[in-house]
Symmetry: C2
Subunit: 202 residues, 2 copies
C-alpha cells in the first residue's frame, strides 16, 4: 500500500483557512487532521484525543528530549507539538494527514522533511483585501488588526518556499483548488527521487 | 500573467486516453490540445490548422533543421512534429496545453524541457485488464493485440519517470484525477527552482 501524504498548510490569520480545511476534510475521503499534543487544559467542549492529546508538562518535555516532535511551539506559556509517531501511524495506513501550522513552523519542517511533505500556502487576494475583511468582521481592535496585517506581510514573504499557493479570492474555488492538490498528490510520483513501486501486476 | 503549463500525456494503446483527454478539455477552461505539424495529407473531415498544420516535406525538413520542433517522429513514412513556437505562443497567453505523445517522445522531452513540462502517464489497471479490453473490443486481430500488449509492457517500464501516474480503473475517476492534476499544477510553485513572482500587491 502507498503511504498517505503529509500536507502542511499555512495562512495568515483572517485568510479563511479554517473554513477551507473543514470543508475539504468533510468532502474528501482518507484524510484527517493531525491531533497535536498540548500541555494546556482542555477547554469546554474539547474532546480528549480528538481535539488534542492533553499531557502534563513533564511528559511533554520528555517527549521533546526524545526527539518525538516533528515541530513544537510555546504559545502563551503552553506547549504544543506534533508527534512524529502519530503522523507516521496514520500515513502508514495509507491515510493523508493535514497539519495546520504557522509559517515559522512550516519553514522548520521544510528542512526537516526534505521532500516528504506537501506545503500549501493559503493567501488572501491582497493585504488590502485582508484588512477589509478584518475591519468588516468588527471583532478585533484597531491595534490587533494592525498586528495581524504586519504579521501577514511578514508571512507572505515566505510563500515562495511553499509547493502550492492558493489565493483565497472566492472560497468555493479555493476549496476546489485544495481538493485538487490533495487528489493530484495522490497520483504524484517523486520523479528521480523515491520512485515508490506501484501495485501493478506487470 | 503566469504562463500556461505544458502537460505531456502518454498511455499504452487501449488505455482510454482519448476519452479521458476529450472530456477533460471539454470540462476545463483555459486548456487546449497541441496542434501538430504533419506532412501527410488531410483525411476526410480533418480541418486545416485545427486537427493538424499540414505542410509539405521540404517545409517540415527546414523547420526541423532550424530546431523548431520540440519533438518529431516518422510514422508510416509521414512526419509529425510539435512546433515549440506554437506551444510557446499559447502558454504565453496563460493557456495550458496538452501534448498527447508516446513514451519514447515523452522521454526525449523530459531531458529537453527540464522542469518545464508536467508528465502524466495513464495506465491500465493491469496488463491482464488491458488484454481483456482489447479482446472484448473485437476490432483487432490476435497478432495486433499481442503486439499492443508487448508494447504496453515496454511502455509501462517508463512510468517511473513521469510526474503523475493515473490508473484508469474507472473512467470517471481517471477524468477527475487528471482534472485535479491540471488545477493543482496551476497553483503549484517550483520550490527552489524558478520562483515565479505572484501578482500580489504586498
Amino acid at each position: 500500500m502507498k503511504n498517505g501524504n503529509l500536507f502542511i498548510i499555512s495562512a495568515p490569520s483572517g485568510t479563511g483557512k479554517t473554513t477551507i480545511l473543514k470543508r475539504v476534510i468533510a468532502e474528501l475521503k482518507n484524510i484527517v487532521f493531525s491531533v497535536s499534543h498540548t500541555t494546556r487544559s482542555p477547554r469546554l467542549g474539547e474532546e480528549k484525543d480528538v481535539d488534542y492529546f492533553f499531557v502534563d508538562k513533564s511528559t511533554f518535555v520528555t517527549m521533546q528530549e526524545q526527539g518525538l516532535f516533528l515541530e513544537w511551539a510555546e504559545v502563551h506559556g503552553n506547549l504544543y507539538g506534533t508527534c512524529s509517531n502519530t503522523v507516521q501511524a496514520i500515513t502508514e495506513q495509507g491515510i493523508d494527514i493535514i497539519l495546520d501550522i504557522d509559517v515559522q513552523g512550516a519553514r522548520q519542517l521544510m528542512d526537516k522533511l526534505n521532500n516528504k511533505g506537501v506545503f500549501v500556502f493559503i493567501s488572501p487576494p491582497s493585504l488590502h483585501e485582508l484588512e477589509k475583511r478584518l475591519v468588516n468582521r468588527g471583532t478585533e481592535s484597531d491595534s490587533v488588526i494592525a498586528t495581524r496585517l504586519n504579521n501577514a506581510h511578514d508571512e507572505m514573504k515566505s510563500l515562495e518556499y511553499y509547493d502550492y499557493v492558493i489565493v483565497n479570492d472566492r472560497v468555493d474555488q479555493a476549496i476546489d483548488e485544495l481538493k485538487s492538490i490533495i487528489i493530484a498528490e495522490r497520483s504524484r510520483k517523486r520523479r528521480g527521487i523515491s520512485g515508490e513501486p506501484l501495485n501493478l501486476d506487470i
